[in-house]
């Protein structure tokens, strides 16, 4: 690692490498692509939440002037899905629709309007089935099954894990707390609607440009459904106009336009309407949860039992992972010596839920942090002090066998306590004004890939040309978070160049080596480490050639200011371009590669694959707000947030990620919700989205954004490139509970449910006035038949990371086994 006092790029607030394109409107998003002879596609979507398809008659649509092609489920019948264990989607439903908006047929026409008109000419006969609208209904209604796979009935996945004897933990506690919380679902609302353009290349292969966060996984899904060799498919992820997890699944529309382009031998485009985007969804799962936590009088946790009941919507999506995630990260934040987790995801006849910023960990984080606030009050301990007492520390191995790296949670807490004047405000401000504190931890990249394999998670090629040009090739996908700038910054720092000297070829499955995608906050650490390795290898080769020319040892050379020179006598040197030519003359054509795979996790039990990460980020936040007791209206005044990032590669972008997370968290805390309602009986009684429009799906505007004071804790993490950890998701997590805790400080009512709306506050205030429990939130957690828990003794009870009661573990998971599990 270079002498950090001399770093010119890393750590310097910089214009991002793709900024010019963005401020001139020249960034080419998927819907900006227009090709000669391009046709347009529209999808016919189910108006029913749950039905059998009896008959689809496309003859009238096919005969409509200007229509080139009509496709139905029979044309693309092969099932796919993001996870190998839930290959449960069809690009066009064959015989079963599972939510309003499920696609049934596609029309491709010369004009978009023609395609739209022709949808009305497709005749579909449905047989309506019982609609299952929430998890409790799903538990109570095993038939009709929404899917033929899954645990049983309409239960998709149940998980039971136990790390140590939790009952013993409760027995040792001075107090045991039981609290139930509900986290409503919400959606990503990226401003760019999903769009794709597919062409049959002149050589007969397929190329698709698409607003996807995961071109590699789309590549795999296309190969499977279209039954083409992957080498004949090229996926180009266009820069995403916001993703937040909403463009991480392979989507039906992507498969449909690909199929149509191959059949028609002409470019085919689709751009979803905003309403369709709401029905694509894959957003935050609604989660009902119950926390039972035992504590000593000083706040030490003796045991925790968490149950989550998850509304998965109509398909698997990332749901199995989401289910595990609702129970994974409790232990990475606070010391929990004994921990039991039960999670259950059900199918319902709603748009499928999936990963949204903070994937699966956001909902239990809300519950855990609000419960800690209640525990602190009961124990008469300041909530900040309580958290400092139980905060995890560096290099710990958690009860569920996640290895932590650098942990600066305590420092985050101390910083926000100081900067917010917490000690002078908490429980000391006038009625109606309050402060709340919450913390969080988040992954810096998922430790395992989505499909099991031993290959790198990210790869980078660097090409050096004779003019000193450096081109970086990587599958990493720019979704606005700055992945291109991460790559350029790291390579520029190592080679002594400017970021604007670097050419980037990213998100293209043909050009660059695989990067698994922009999810799980993995790009900075994984693509970053791959880029670092490739750049260091290039530097070593160039240095050897330059050292020979300059007659000084290679170790003494420094790369900076586009020169390679003697660090002891900087005037002795050559230009970077000259050095590259020397290297090419000496070693041949210049290119290097780097790759990265996360370290092996000690969590060896079944289910231990979700949650391990090379390292975790930590965040603490204090929210100060006013609550108007007459209207219930919340006015957030200020937010102080400290984030343990390891190293800020580009502080300008890091601040943007923190503030953007705070913003999105406030939206979830205060207003955003993916709500459904039944149409009146005479109008089909379908379960429809209540607000499938931006106007009615409320999100914060520029008028709603409070002041945010961001502090970064920079202790470089040895596992991150230049010490960097993630920042894109973690800072969202503490916002919702901090708001809830501040509401309690302001007006003395507990809102154990997100979003925290004025209506709920008024109801809780009415309860308070009536002398009842001053609270709004769920009252019970339904009975779930949990399977016998896999018992994994924690490290301090002699555990080795395996379950003691699991069936013999196969030597390795084979693709065949996955196939069986998915069928």
């Amino acid at each position: 690692m270079p002498d950090e006092t001399k770093m010119r790029v890393i750590g310097v607030p910089r214009r991002r490498v793709d900024a010019r394109a963005k401020v001139t409107g020249q960034t080419r998003f998927a819907d900006d692509i227009v090709l000669p002879r391009m046709a347009y596609c529209k999808l016919l979507r189910s108006p029913h939440p749950h039905a059998r398809i009896l008959k689809v008659d496309t003859s009238r649509a096919a005969a409509h002037p200007g229509v080139y092609l009509v496709l139905t489920g029979k044309d693309v019948p092969i099932e796919y899905g993001i996870l190998p264990v839930s290959q449960d989607e069809q690009a066009l439903c064959v015989d079963h629709v599972r939510h309003v908006g499920d696609p049934v047929a596609a029309v491709v026409a010369r004009e978009e309007l023609t395609a739209f008109e022709a949808l009305d000419l497709i005749d579909v006969e449905y047989e309506l089935l019982t609609t299952i609208s929430d998890p409790e209904e799903a538990l109570a209604t095993p038939a009709p099954r929404i899917h033929e796979y899954g645990e049983e009935g309409n239960i998709h996945k149940r998980v039971s894990l136990e790390f140590g004897d939790v009952e013993q933990g409760f027995a040792e506690a001075d107090e045991v707390f039981e609290d139930t919380f509900f986290y409503q679902g919400n959606t990503h609302l990226a401003i760019e609607q999903h769009a794709s353009v597919a062409i049959k290349d002149p050589d007969g292969k397929l190329t698709i440009w698409s607003s996807t966060q995961t071109p590699h996984y789309l590549h795999r899904a296309l190969a499977k459904v279209l039954q083409m060799p992957p080498g004949h498919i090229r996926v180009i992820a266009t820069p995403n106009g916001g993703g937040f997890g909403g463009k991480s699944d392979p989507f039906n529309h992507e498969i449909v336009v690909s199929k149509a382009a191959l059949l028609l031998d002409r470019p085919v485009k689709i751009c979803l309407t905003r309403e369709e985007v709401f029905y694509c969804h894959r957003g935050r799962h609604p989660v009902l949860m119950k926390f039972k936590t035992g504590v000593k009088r000083d706040g030490t946790i003796t045991g925790m039992h968490l149950q989550t009941l998850i509304d998965g919507g109509a398909y698997g999506s990332y749901g199995v992972a989401s289910t595990f995630y609702t129970g994974a990260l409790q232990t990475t934040t606070y010391k929990i010596p004994r921990y039991r987790f039960n999670g259950c995801r059900t199918f319902t006849n709603k748009p499928p839920c999936g990963p949204k910023r903070g994937h699966g960990t956001v909902q239990p984080r809300f519950g855990q942090e609000v419960q800690l606030d209640k525990i602190a009050e009961k124990l008469n301990i300041d909530p900040a002090d309580l958290r400092l007492h139980i905060a995890e520390s560096s290099n710990a191995l958690t009860a569920n066998f996640f290895r932590l790296s650098v942990v600066n949670l305590s420092e985050c807490i101390r910083r926000v306590v100081k900067s917010s004047d917490w000690k002078d405000k908490f429980r000391k401000m006038p009625e109606g004004r309050g402060v709340g504190l919450a913390c969080s931890a988040y992954l810096t990249g998922a430790g395992l890939p989505i499909y099991w394999n031993k290959m790198p998670h990210s790869g980078v090629h660097i090409k050096f040309d004779r003019g000193g040009g450096v081109a970086v090739f990587c599958g990493a996908t720019e979704i606005g978070q700055g992945s291109d700038d991460v790559l350029a910054g790291i390579v520029a720092e190592v080679l002594g160049l400017d970021t604007f000297d670097i050419r980037l070829y990213t998100g293209d499955t043909d050009l660059g080596p695989v990067d698994l995608g922009s999810y799980s906050s993995r790009v900075t650490i994984m693509a970053g480490n791959a880029a670092l390795q490739a750049a260091e290898r290039g530097k070593a080769i160039i240095a050897e050639a330059a050292a020979e020319k300059l007659g000084i040892p290679a170790e003494r050379l420094r790369f900076a200011d586009k020169r390679v020179f003697d660090s002891l006598a900087p005037e002795i040197g050559i230009t970077f371009a000259e050095a590259v030519c020397l290297a090419e003359a000496k070693f041949g054509t210049m290119g290097t590669m780097g790759s990265y795979a996360p370290p092996k996790s000690p969590a060896l039990y079944k289910g231990g694959g979700v949650g391990p990460s090379p390292t975790y980020s930590y965040t603490a936040a204090v929210v100060e707000l006013n609550v108007n007791p007459a209207t219930g209206w919340i006015n957030v005044q200020k937010i102080w947030i400290a984030h343990d990032i390891g190293r800020a590669l580009n502080p300008t972008l890091v601040r943007g990620q923190v503030e953007g997370s705070v913003y999105m968290g406030l939206g979830e805390a205060l207003m955003e919700e993916q709500e459904f309602r039944r149409l009146p009986k005479k109008l089909s009684h379908a379960l429809v989205h209540k607000f499938p429009s931006i106007l009615e799906y409320k999100s914060p505007t520029s008028l709603d954004m409070p002041e945010v004071f961001t502090e970064l804790i920079e202790e470089p993490d040895p596992r991150g490139p230049f010490g960097a950890k993630e920042v894109g998701q973690g800072p969202l997590l503490p916002i919702m509970p901090a708001v809830a805790n501040a509401v309690y400080d302001a007006v003395g009512v507990r809102i154990d449910e997100v979003p925290i709306t004025p209506e709920k506050i008024l109801k809780a205030l009415a309860e308070k006035k009536a002398g009842r429990e001053p609270r709004f939130g769920p009252s019970h957690f339904p009975h779930v038949d949990w399977p016998e828990a896999l018992r994994v003794p924690p490290p301090w009870e002699g555990g080795d990371g395996h379950a003691v009661n699991d069936s013999p573990r196969p030597g390795k998971r084979s693709p065949e086994k996955e196939k069986v599990r998915s069928s």
Partner: protein, 171 residues
């Protein structure tokens, strides 16, 4: 029964000044200004997020004032002056707003950026020294899901200072 697809019937015709350039365009008469800009005039810098006037991503300046181009029929724009993001810079140089947005992290995914830039330009043209609250108000119809708005406000303020400084230096 439709014999010729509606979109092919480019029976409407207008002449407008687009980014300072006299421009003739023929299009199907039902089309919005947004559609004509993107589809008939190849100006894809202006974006769409809802096509219902909800997100603000399609804002352009009509006679110097921000309008939602998805709610405006193009035939209403005959003989009008339209400015889009493509017309912000001049002589190969970025507009000070563009520079400030690029330097200060005000564009993350960049999708809402073109509309926010032209909206901010209209604000500064009309009020060269807006307060933070006036900036908030002016941009309240433009949703941004990435930034949390704060770096956008700062970029508008930085551009404001730069423009004021240039004018002072030029005076």
């Amino acid at each position: 029964m439709i014999t010729l697809p509606t979109e092919s019937q480019k029976t409407a015709h207008i002449r407008l000044t687009l980014n300072g350039e006299e421009t003739d365009v023929s299009f199907a008469p039902y089309k919005t200004l947004l559609e004509v800009l993107r589809e008939d005039l190849g100006h894809t810098g202006t974006k769409h997020g809802c096509e219902l006037g909800e997100c603000g991503a399609c804002a352009v300046l009509l006679e110097g004032k921000p309008v939602l181009s998805c709610l405006l029929l193009a035939i209403e724009c005959d003989k009008k002056n339209v400015l889009t993001v493509e017309g912000l810079g001049a002589d190969g140089q970025l507009h000070p707003l563009q520079d400030a947005f690029a330097d200060l992290g005000a564009a993350q995914c960049g999708y809402c950026t073109p509309a926010i830039l032209v909206t901010a330009k209209a604000l500064l043209d009309q009020n060269p020294h807006p307060s933070r609250d006036e900036i908030r108000q002016a941009l309240s119809g433009n949703l941004c899901r990435c930034t949390g708005y704060l770096q956008i406000f700062e970029a508008v303020e930085a551009a404001m200072a730069k423009i004021a400084g240039c004018e002072k230096a030029g005076a």
